[in-house]
C-alpha cells in the first residue's frame, strides 16, 4: 500500500519535473532558432541590397551586373554557400550567382526556409532579388544544443527522482509505522501503539487519533475478556461444588440424612447457576439490543409496595425491618423490569444488612423526575469498592465473606434498567453503617416521547454518576414529603 502510494507520488512529481524541463528546452531551442534566422535574414537582406545596387539597367531592356569586390567575395564563400538571383519586372531572369540555379521563377516577396537553405526575396524598383544561403550550420548548432539539454535534463530527472523517492519515503514513514502497528494489532498484540514523534503534522494527528482508538478497543476487549473469565469462574464454582458433593455421596452407602444434605447442597449450587445464567442471558440480550421494553404508565410507589411484600419473608428471616415513605408517582416504562429494579435494590439492602437493621425506601416526585431512594443500615461498601458496584460480577469482599447467594449481576442489571428508562442511578456509602441507592426516573409527563417504538436500547458504554461517600449526606425516607402509603415489616 505504502509503496504504491510512494510510487504514485513519485510518478506525479517526476512527470511534473520532466514537463518543466521539456518546456524550457523547447523554449530555448525555439528562441535560438529564431535568433539565428533573424541574423541570417538581416545578412541576406543587406546582401540583396548590395546586389540590387549592382544591377544597372541598359538600353533595350538589358542589365549590366557589376558586383563590388566585397559582394563577390561573399558569394564565393564556401562555408555558407550563399547565392543570389535577380529578376526583371517582366519576370525574366537578369542574373544569378550560380549557373546551376536553373528553372527559377520570381517567388513572392518574403523569407522562406527550404530544407537546409534560407532565402530572402526583396523588391528593389523593378527588380526582384533573391538571396539565399545554406543554414545547415544553424541546424547543427540546434541539434547539439538539444543534445546537451537532453543529457542535462536526464541527469536532472534522475536526481529529482532519487530525491523525490527519498523524500516521499520520509514523508510516508509514519504511514509505514501505522501500517506495521495495525498489522501487529491484527496478529493479536493489543498493546501495539504507533510511535509519534511529531504530533503537529497531519499524519501525527492521525496516529494520535488511531492510538486513542486502539486504547478504546483494547479496554473494551479487556472488559469483555475479564467478564468472560469472571463468568466462567462464577459458573465453575457451583459446578465444582455439585460434582464434589455428588462424588462424596456416591462413594459409599450413606444415611438418608446424608443424602438429603447432599441434595440440599446440590440444589443451592444449581440455584446459583440458574440465577447466574439468567442474569448473563438478560445482560447479553440487553447488550445486543434484543431485550424489548414495553412502555406504559407505571405507578412507581405501587411497585415499591409490591416489591416489599414479595421480600417480606426474607426480611423476617434476616431480622431486618423495612419501612417505606412514598407519594403517588407515575413513571413510564416496562412494569416488570422496573419491578426487577426495585426488588434488586431491596434484596441487596436486606441481604447485606445487620441483624436488627433497617431498610428505608422513599419515593417522591422531584420536579420532572421521580426519586427512588433505598437506604439500609447495613455493612456498607468501602470507598475502594464503590466505583465498581455496578460492574458485572463484582462483589465486594465484605459481601463475599458473608454467606450470600448473590451472583454479582443484580446491580449491573439495575443499572441497565435505569439507563434504558432514561434515568440515573447512584450509590453512596460510608463504608460501615449504611449504603444508599438513589434512582431518578423521568416522570410520565416528561418521559421521552419515543413511546411509539416500544423498544429501548441502553448500553453500558457510558459510566453513570457515582458520588463518593462523603457527598452522600441525605437521610432516610422520613423527611421525604407527604407519606401516602407505608409498608412495614418486622
Amino acid at each position: 500500500m505504502t509503496d504504491s502510494l510512494r510510487a504514485r507520488l513519485l510518478g506525479w512529481y517526476v512527470g511534473m519535473v520532466m514537463l518543466v524541463i521539456a518546456s524550457v528546452a523547447i523554449a530555448v531551442c525555439w528562441g535560438t532558432w529564431r535568433a539565428r534566422l533573424t541574423a541570417v535574414d538581416a545578412e541576406l537582406r543587406s546582401r540583396a541590397a548590395s546586389v540590387s545596387t549592382a544591377v544597372l539597367p541598359r538600353d533595350g531592356g538589358r542589365f549590366d551586373v557589376e558586383l563590388t569586390s566585397d559582394a563577390t567575395a561573399y558569394f564565393q564563400a564556401s562555408t555558407s554557400r550563399p547565392y543570389y538571383a535577380v529578376w526583371a519586372a517582366d519576370g525574366s531572369l537578369v542574373d544569378r550567382s550560380d549557373p546551376d540555379l536553373t528553372g527559377l521563377v520570381a517567388p513572392p516577396e518574403g523569407a522562406r526556409t527550404l530544407g537546409n537553405r534560407r532565402e530572402v526575396i526583396t523588391r528593389a524598383g523593378p527588380l526582384t532579388v533573391l538571396t539565399g544561403r545554406d543554414i545547415s550550420d544553424i541546424w547543427q548548432e540546434l541539434w547539439s544544443l538539444a543534445l546537451t539539454m537532453l543529457v542535462v535534463a536526464l541527469a536532472g530527472v534522475a536526481l529529482a527522482t532519487a530525491g523525490a523517492w527519498f523524500l516521499a519515503g520520509r514523508a510516508l514513514a509514519p504511514v509505514q509505522r501505522i501500517n506495521e502497528t495495525a498489522r501487529r494489532m491484527i496478529q493479536g498484540d493489543l498493546t501495539a501503539r504507533i510511535a509519534v514523534d511529531r504530533t503537529e503534522t497531519e499524519l501525527g494527528q492521525v496516529a494520535l487519533a488511531l492510538n486513542v482508538a486502539f486504547d478504546r478497543l483494547r479496554e473494551s476487549i479487556e472488559r469483555q475478556r475479564q467478564f468472560t473469565a469472571d463468568a466462567s469462574h462464577q459458573l465453575r464454582t457451583p459446578v465444582a461444588t455439585m460434582l464434589a458433593e455428588i462424588d462424596w455421596a456416591l462413594k459409599r452407602d450413606r444415611t438418608a440424612a446424608d443424602y438429603r444434605e447432599s441434595l440440599d447442597t446440590c440444589h443451592r449450587a444449581a440455584t446459583r447457576m440458574q440465577s447466574l445464567v439468567n442474569g448473563l442471558l438478560t445482560l447479553a440480550r440487553a447488550d445486543s439490543g434484543d431485550l424489548p421494553l414495553t412502555r406504559q404508565d407505571v405507578r412507581i410507589d405501587r411497585i415499591v409496595a409490591e416489591a416489599i411484600d414479595g421480600l417480606r419473608p426474607l426480611a423476617v428471616k434476616q431480622d431486618v425491618s423495612v419501612d417505606a415513605t412514598t407519594e403517588p408517582a407515575v413513571g413510564r416504562g416496562d412494569r416488570d423490569r422496573l419491578h426487577d429494579l426495585v426488588s434488586n435494590l431491596l434484596f441487596n439492602a436486606i441481604t447485606y444488612n445487620k441483624p436488627g437493621g433497617s431498610v428505608s425506601v422513599g419515593v417522591r416526585r422531584e420536579g420532572e423526575s421521580i426519586e427512588l431512594r433505598v437506604r439500609d443500615s447495613g455493612i456498607g461498601i468501602s470507598a475502594a469498592d464503590l466505583p465498581y458496584v455496578f460492574d458485572r460480577l463484582y462483589r465486594a469482599d465484605a459481601a463475599r465473606a458473608r454467606d450470600t447467594s448473590g451472583a454479582g449481576l443484580g446491580l449491573a442489571l439495575a443499572q441497565w434498567i435505569v439507563a434504558a428508562h432514561g434515568g440515573t442511578i447512584a450509590c453512596s456509602s460510608d463504608g460501615g453503617t449504611f449504603t444508599e441507592f438513589v434512582v431518578h426516573l423521568p416522570h410520565a409527563d416528561h418521559a421521552a416521547a419515543d413511546a411509539g417504538t416500544g423498544r429501548l436500547i441502553a448500553r453500558f458504554a457510558t459510566p453513570l454518576t457515582m458520588p463518593s461517600a462523603s457527598t452522600a449526606s441525605v437521610t432516610g425516607g422520613v423527611q421525604m414529603g407527604a407519606s401516602s402509603s407505608t409498608a412495614s415489616t418486622e
Binding site: T237, T241, A401
Partner: protein
C-alpha cells in the same frame, strides 16, 4: 494428619471437609485469606488446600506470606483459574500442586495423599511398623496379608508414628495432627487411642518415652 481447607464457597468447603474427615484427616476450614494465613502459620498442617479467589486476601498472597514466614507445608491450589499463566504463577509462588475446578473428588484425595507422602521423611506408600505394614494408599494396616481393623483416628495416629519412625512424637503433636480446631478433647485421649492400638497390634510395636511421647522403632 491435619489439613486446612481455605475456600470461601461454604458448600464446597463443607463437602471437602467431610470428604477429607472421612479419610481420617482432621480438617480445619478458613473462609477468608486472612483467616487462612493466620491458621497456616499457627498450626503445623500436613497439607493446605487453597482457593485463590478469596475475600480480604487472595490465595496467592496467603501462599507467599506463608512461604516468606518459613512455612514448608505442602500446598495444593484448588481454583477455577485454569490458564497456563495462572498455573505457572501459582506453582512459582510456592504451591506444590495445582488443581482446577471442577475436579474429581477421588483425584483430589489422591493428590492430598501424595503431597503428604512426599513431605514425609519416608516417602513410601507402604510403611513398616514392627511386623505390621501401613498401606497409606489403601489406608489400612495388615500383617502377613491379615488386615487389622482400625478406626480412622487409630489409623491416623499409627501412620503418623510410622512416618516418623525412629523419632519420638509428642502427645501434643499427635493431638494436633488428629484433631481439628473444633474438637475440644482432653489430650489424654491420645493415650486412650495408643492403648487401643496396642490392644490390636500387640504391646511392643509402639513404645512409650515417658515424659516425651511415643515412637515406633526403626
Amino acid at each position: 494428619m491435619r489439613i486446612l481447607v481455605a475456600e470461601d464457597e461454604p458448600d464446597l468447603a463443607r463437602t471437602l471437609g467431610k470428604a477429607l474427615a472421612e479419610e481420617g484427616y482432621a480438617v480445619d476450614l478458613a473462609r477468608t485469606g486472612d483467616e487462612a494465613l493466620a491458621k497456616a502459620t499457627a498450626v503445623a498442617y500436613d497439607t493446605i488446600v487453597l482457593d485463590i479467589m478469596m475475600p480480604v486476601q487472595d490465595g496467592l498472597s496467603v501462599l507467599s506470606g506463608l512461604r516468606r514466614s518459613g512455612g514448608r507445608t505442602p500446598v495444593l491450589i484448588l481454583t477455577a483459574r485454569d490458564t497456563v499463566e495462572d498455573k505457572v504463577q501459582g506453582l512459582n509462588v510456592g504451591a506444590d500442586d495445582y488443581m482446577t475446578k471442577p475436579f474429581a473428588l477421588t483425584e483430589l484425595l489422591a493428590r492430598v495423599r501424595a503431597l503428604i507422602r512426599r513431605a514425609s521423611p519416608d516417602p513410601m506408600t507402604e510403611l513398616a511398623a514392627g511386623p505390621f505394614v501401613v498401606d497409606t494408599g489403601a489406608r489400612l494396616v495388615h500383617r502377613d496379608g491379615e488386615v487389622v481393623d482400625l478406626t480412622a483416628r487409630e489409623y491416623a495416629i499409627l501412620e503418623l508414628l510410622a512416618r516418623r519412625k525412629g523419632s519420638v512424637v509428642t502427645r501434643s503433636a499427635i493431638y494436633e495432627h488428629v484433631y481439628d480446631e473444633h474438637e475440644d478433647t482432653l489430650s489424654n485421649v491420645v493415650d486412650v487411642f495408643i492403648a487401643a492400638l496396642r490392644r490390636k497390634l500387640g504391646p511392643d510395636v509402639i513404645r512409650t518415652r515417658r515424659g516425651h511421647g511415643y515412637l515406633i522403632d526403626d
